[in-house]
Symmetry: C2
Subunit: 309 residues, 2 copies
């Protein structure tokens, strides 16, 4: 165990150490709903660094039923329990069935769902990013753990500043958009998961926007555009130009990460960490709209964990 | 060249023969919009058969900008031109820039966009399926080309029968749903691409439905559910039970492939070919609704290929 590895959370370190003797060539990121949305930027990060590890990102039911035949002894499944394959499970509760079943459980805390303020460095995505870059170090010999961990340690203050930066925009647009029956959220690259996770909206990939969905745009349609700092930003810039050309400014909210103070986050990882700021700040916007709507969805769910299904 | 290979379309055969000397371990399915939606079932088919080939399915801009570092000399990119990597391009026009740039162009015909009736065996998805199963034969030693090609040859009559089977349902539901501002289409597995391609609707993965999107369901919400015959059908059956429990029958159209006459399609490939029936038949439904809506989208696009952007 070297210095860089010891920077990592103990659970992640244990998982990575346990994986050193195993041949791995394929990673499956498997989850549902909000947890799946976190997996998208995890795969984006792996795609950005690893020449050795192919990967898939799948809904858990889809994964089990699709049963990809490439899944085998050299596969690593992150977050879903499977027999005969190495599994890492991220779980809030280390006594959960998931944590009991997997080879390497990794704990995390969930700030944005409980409302209890904790540090983003302890979130599922921070743990996942540590795991991914640990795999990249082991399999590709690229060691970026020190700047990654330093960046994650500085993430919460950046999120707090982002809340303040976006606050006037959220107040303004919550007033303008809370009556909309549909809001489309455009994003790409590392930020697509954040758009996908946002329950009040339909996620549209910014690159796909120009191949069909843009036909719905007119002066009455509501859009949120997430502009990140990863390599796919040109798609988002192209979407912005088009939205401004054919839409109404009062119906289009642009969240531009270029306007945020990202002090303490390494330049190399800004693109990967910005979506985590979007994840958190979009919740504030959702709550603001829910208050104006007197909406059932965030005040109390109708079905999830309330009935059996 | 053996008997089974000679069953294939000449362009596919040429591509597969040209690929025999190349080491391939990763396939990138790359396209935009409707063409991307066809790639989803292509990846599903590859996942179902190949232990040797990992794959990704990406929007073309996302692919170029994400620039996955695993992309290299052992990658095969299907449909997008890249330097230093082997490329296969499916194109209607064999003189198109795409066809000129790729290593192996594969021609196809596009019946559902032009309205000119051609046989589904000549479509992009039929060529893609031949290519995928040719790769599976070469890399995994599994030869299913004969039943696949026989099934594709019998696909058009099955589609024609499906149009007749679904006609009363489409007429009824076009009347009931044409006023809806949003229709959600649920699908999974091989059928997800068909849901995604359907411009009138927002695609929701049937497995993900239970992790957020189902909260929008009430007696007023409009849904289309695609029930295919692949291994992911249990997700769709679960969604059906939930839709029927909390929604209104007149707002929920279920397209169940179990009700179709699939004579001539091999049992093994029914799950993979059913989405191709959904692709075609959903167009009929879209036209029916567009007629009732007097809608701009299918009568004439507003932006696509009309303005520069």
């Amino acid at each position: 165990m070297n210095d860089a590895t010891s920077l990592l959370h103990a659970d992640v370190e244990r998982a990575l150490n346990g994986l050193t003797d195993k041949k791995i060539d394929h990673v499956f990121f498997v989850a549902c709903g909000g947890s799946l949305s976190v997996m998208y930027p995890g795969k984006f990060l792996l795609d950005s660094y690893s020449r050795k590890l192919a990967s898939d990102c799948l809904n858990a039911d889809e994964f089990v039923q699709r049963d990809p035949v490439i899944l085998g002894s050299t596969s690593l499944v992150i977050l879903c329990s499977m027999t005969g394959t190495t599994t890492v499970g991220l779980s809030v509760d280390t006594l959960s069935p998931l944590a009991q079943e997997v080879d390497f459980p990794i704990g995390f805390e969930a700030p944005y769902t409980t409302g209890v303020p904790i540090d983003a460095r302890d979130s599922n995505y921070a743990r996942l990013y540590q795991l991914v870059m640990g795999l990249v170090k082991a399999h590709d010999g690229i060691d970026k753990l020190a700047p990654l961990v330093a960046s994650l340690n500085n993430l919460q203050p950046a999120i707090d500043r982002a809340h303040a930066t976006f606050e006037p925009l959220f107040t303004q647009y919550a007033g303008q958009l809370h009556g909309e029956s549909v809001i489309y959220t455009l994003a790409s690259g590392a930020s697509y998961g954040a758009a996908y996770s946002w329950i009040n909206s339909q996620a549209v990939h910014a690159g796909e926007f120009f191949h069909g969905p843009f036909e719905v745009l007119d002066r009455d349609r509501a859009f949120v555009l997430l502009m990140g700092l990863d390599r796919t930003r040109p798609q988002q810039e192209r979407a912005k130009v088009f939205l401004e050309r054919f839409g109404s400014p009062e119906k289009i909210m642009v969240l531009d990460a270029a306007k945020l103070d990202l002090d303490g986050i390494d330049d190399e990882f800004k693109g990967n960490l910005v979506p985590l700021i979007f994840f958190d700040t979009l919740w504030k916007f959702a709550y603001k709209m829910a208050n104006l709507r007197n909406h059932v969805m965030l005040e109390g769910r109708r079905y999830m964990k309330k009935i059996s299904y």
